[in-house]
């Protein structure tokens, strides 16, 4: 009886602590992590129309909705739960000409840090950078992982 009570209270203490943790790594419903070993798989996923948010060595982070879930099912990939730590963003400097172009960059949803002359420093997902490239913007990646200390 005493041992049971101790175990019960211990479990309660553990549970109370866990419940208050931010759900930083909870299984997401929209984000999926897809491990890959070859570029062909990446290309197949890209051509299926799935929104690739991040492409890191060894895995992709895709943003899946109902249609893309179907597309992924037809490919031989195994989507997993993504965590916040998987969401790597690049630090990049983008060149633009005039306020209208700068507004286009902002409205993509990038994290704009500062503007100096005709270039803007942004933190952005690969999805954003791909769109910028399609729109004809030139950019240079300053850090592959904007959060990484060692690149500074």
């Amino acid at each position: 009886m005493g041992k049971f009570l101790l175990l019960f209270l211990g479990a309660l203490a553990f549970g109370a602590c866990r419940q208050q943790q931010p759900a930083a790594t909870a299984t997401p419903s929209g984000l999926r992590k897809i491990p890959y070993t070859d570029s062909q798989t990446v290309e197949q996923i890209r051509q299926s129309g799935v929104k690739i948010l991040v492409q890191q060595p060894g895995y992709l982070i895709v943003y899946s909705d109902s249609s893309s879930v179907q597309a992924l099912q037809t490919l031989s990939v195994t989507p997993q739960a993504a965590t916040e730590a998987d969401l790597v963003q690049r630090l990049a400097r983008i060149h633009f000409a005039g306020q209208e172009q700068l507004q286009k960059i902002v409205d993509l949803g990038v994290d704009l840090w500062d503007v100096e002359g005709d270039s803007a420093t942004v933190r952005a997902y690969d999805l954003h950078l791909e769109k910028l490239k399609q729109e004809g913007f030139a950019y240079r990646i300053l850090k592959m992982d904007a959060s990484a200390k060692e690149d500074k």
Partner: protein, 345 residues
């Protein structure tokens, strides 16, 4: 008769120890969940803001009073300190509000308003200008509007910007400075949940922005500064359009006066300009307060000037950044007093 003969003393000690562990674990988790207290060096953490604001008020109860505007998504208090003579009374005096820390990673934007509060309280009765301003007005300072995000920035991701709302799709956070309800959803904000400028599903969807809104609606604010970093700018409405605000000359003059007062301290230049001059952004604090109530108010983007060091401003710059912003803050309080009876909002 022995009480509870079937429950040995040793076992009672063990149960007491477990209960104590339970209580301690609860307190620790409430403070961030890490194995040790979050540490932001010389910058204030949430726990330190909580502690230091209360200590300020406790040491000066005649002129300082701490209250909570509400709770964050994760249940942290949004602490505000009111500074005025007869602080317990609501006097018909001009009110000036200073907000800090809408964006999690902008640590200096928490410490500057906190240090302003500290200076006002500690120099009351000694510094004649401060004493006069505190006597003649009501000053409200909310140094950390986004405590959950700030905590996350301290413990997990230094560059975290948004609050810690779970959006339900695996992403987290709403940009609080795109969540206010004036021209919400316009340019310079995003509907993508993974974006750093995600505006939320609707205006004022977040408890933090609702708390600020409800607080300002109860008050009779004459002027407000919302601190951010970085870029060294003094921004005035509008942000959502390139059109000038109806009171553009007044707003511009005040912004120039603020920038002038900043520059004279350490010869550091902050550029005064309309918020939209660089690019359009919708749903921020200043557009809402000006758009709804025509209250002159400003976003000050603190040091540094550019991306390196960007948000990670060295600790050695905390004090000079505060020092150069103090005269500008006092100027705005004085300006608010000069406007006479506060408008009802």
């Amino acid at each position: 008769m022995k009480p509870r003969a079937n429950f040995p003393t040793r076992m009672r000690f063990a149960v007491a120890a477990i209960i104590a562990t339970l209580l301690l674990a609860g307190g620790r988790c409430d403070n961030g969940g890490g194995p040790s207290d979050p540490n932001a060096g010389l910058y204030h953490t949430y726990a330190e803001i909580d502690n230091d604001l209360h200590a300020l008020a406790a040491a000066h109860p005649q002129i300082a009073q701490v209250s909570s505007l509400g709770k964050s998504v994760e249940g942290r208090e949004l602490w505000a300190i009111k500074i005025s003579d007869n602080v317990a009374q609501d006097e018909p005096e001009a009110e000036t509000v200073f907000l800090g820390g809408h964006h999690a990673r902008e640590w200096i934007a928490v410490d500057v308003p906190f240090l302003i509060a500290s200076r006002l309280v500690n120099q009351y009765g000694t510094d004649t200008t401060i004493t006069r301003l505190v006597n003649q007005s009501e000053i409200w300072i909310v140094p950390m509007v986004n405590p959950d995000g700030h905590q996350y920035s301290v413990t997990t991701d230094r560059l975290w910007r948004k609050n810690r709302r779970s959006t339900g799709d695996g992403t987290f956070g709403v940009d609080l400075n795109r969540n206010y309800g004036y021209e919400w959803g316009g340019p310079g904000s995003s509907g993508d949940t993974f974006s750093e400028i995600y505006r939320g599903p609707l205006a004022f969807s977040e408890p933090e922005t609702r708390a600020v809104r409800d607080f300002l609606q109860r008050r009779q604010t004459k002027a407000l500064i919302s601190y951010h970093n970085f870029s060294q700018l003094v921004l005035y409405p509008w942000g959502h359009t390139n059109n000038p605000a109806p009171d553009e000359p007044l707003l511009q003059n005040l912004a120039v006066a603020i920038a002038d007062r900043i520059r004279v301290v350490h010869a550091v230049t902050y550029t005064p300009q309309q918020s939209s001059d660089l690019y359009l952004a919708s749903g921020d604090t200043t557009d809402w307060l000006y758009g709804e109530y025509r209250v002159p108010n400003f976003t000050i983007e603190l040091r540094p000037r550019s991306s390196f060091p960007g948000f990670e401003l060295p600790e050695s710059e905390i004090t000079p950044t505060f020092e150069e912003n103090l005269p500008a803050a006092l100027f705005l309080v004085g300006w608010a007093i000069q406007q006479g009876s506060p408008p009802t909002i």
